[in-house]
Amino acid sequence: MTRHVPALSRRALLAYGAGAAGTAALIGASRPVRAQAPVTLVNVSYDPTRELYRFLNEAFAKHWREKSGQQVTIRTSHGGSGRQARSVIDGLEADVVTLALGGDIDAIVENGGKIAANWQSRLPNNSSPYTSTIVLLVRKGNPKQIRDWADLAKPGISVITPNPKTSGGARWNYLAAWAYELARTNGDAAKAKAFVEAIYRNVPVLDTGARGSTTTFVQRNLGDVLIAWENEAYLSVQEFGADKFDIITPSLSILAEPPVTVVDQVVDKRGTRAVAQAYLEFLYTPEAQKIIAKNFYRPFKPEAADPADIARFPQLKLVTIDQQFGGWAKAHKDHFADGASFDQIYRPGAATR
């Protein structure tokens, strides 16, 4: 019987390093020092964070090598936040998820319990290492004179936004427009619904993720205005030149808190909890906060970032999901569940009529 023990632990080590290159895993398995075996983490994230995590992963790999001597490779997957959550529920082995909103992580908790229910209290700031908001991106010179949310509901304006069923950014977009009209009408929910319906009547196509909508707007040249993550709007201007687009900051928007967490079931199975936890904690360090601000996300600790980066963010009135909508569970039930407000107002192809 005792002969089985080394065989088993070797297999466990092999499984532990399975994500890394095959030979590296074999070398790791034959060595007694477990910390030296290269490790791979999978980060399943939402759509616009591709550039951000490329920089963060590089920085963390360096940080982790210096700290523990272990080589870590972080693989990322990007897509609409809701769709990514669905994949994790269906079995995509993510060590950590970094999604667009808490509701999508709650969905993973509720469907199969791969993440502990108390996830949001495990890291500072509701487990959001940065925040962002929703702004409007228009073509250079603002030919359609779009100044605020109210202009999106006017007839003849073509609005690009992704599908709230699959995209987290799209849900923030939807709720930001809703919050604007609530504020304007002193909390009249019926008016807010009619207002958002008027906006979605102007939407010709719903992409599955925020990046899909951005390429629709900037590459395919569809639409007069893109409702976008602030970081996504700034990135478009940086990538395609300030002579192509203008960013319009609306009078009111929503405080978007994209949260992060380890996927308990996966890290416990793969034996990667320590490094996955360190990866997420790293996001709160001054070094990471600086990278976050450089990539147009609003850092949790602005004092750690380059002041010039912070100065780029305009001041605007922000409502929160908890104050305005009673948290994600309620917002989901009221607006995005089957038959809720979005299903009631949106009919595909309405914009072409």
């Binding site: 994500g19 399943v44 591709r50 897509g79 994949s87 269906d90 995509l92």
Partner: protein, 287 residues
Amino acid sequence: MSDVSRATFRSPLQESLAVRWLLILVAVAFLALVVLLPLAAVFSEALRKGPEAALAAFDDEATWSAVTLTLTVAAITVPANLVFGVAAAWAIAKFEFPGKSLLITLIDLPFSVSPVVSGLVFVLVFGSHGLLGPLLSAWNIKIIFALPGIVLATTFVTLPFIARELIPLMQEQGTAEEEAALTLGASGLKAFLTVTLPNIRWALLYGVLLCNARAMGEFGAVAVVSGHIRGLTNTMPLHVEILYNEYNFVGAFAVAALLALLALVTLGAKSLLEWRYGDALAGKSRH
């Protein structure tokens, strides 16, 4: 008089010169617009910033991982479908058995189902909450969001190519030659290897080439079961989409060009065989 009548009379099978030219022009213009232009665009976009910029896309471990994955998937899928396709075509063309028409319908099924649905089917079967999900996770076996799932989805989508190529040909050929071989004392296996296989070799090759091209290019079904993990579960078509979405247009088109080149190599091999063995193929293939 006879000159005049020759000039005005023409065979009812012969269209006038103007109509013939018009038809040729329409066909060529259509091909140029639908096939040549996009293909040329892929290469010109890839080389827009010079060959160095295009080659830079291949100086990325994630790109090579995608190329390797795509070739691995094709290397597993094509032989699997080869064995299945020959066996199914053999059974259908040479034997009578109950449920034969059902088998033919099943072979055609992947053609009529949307690739996205094909992918979802595997999620429903092998996903954490699928039919076999709990069993697989208890045994620690990964199917979807890993190589096996990608292979399964690709095999499903490309399943009809070889069988469909062989069935009409084998039916046309009948069973007379095999029967002769058997009466002369050949075993079933020997009859298959020395009589059936040589008769179908060109159609088989066609089927393999088509199957291979589709296996490397499949997007929809693979997108559903891949999980899109860069450097792990991204195939070439998925990697093209990722690069495009990251505003790396030259890189996206460079990888697309490589994918197109792989397809062109396949097509080139097919043309070469046609040219080399044109006569043998003419009577036996439907393409």
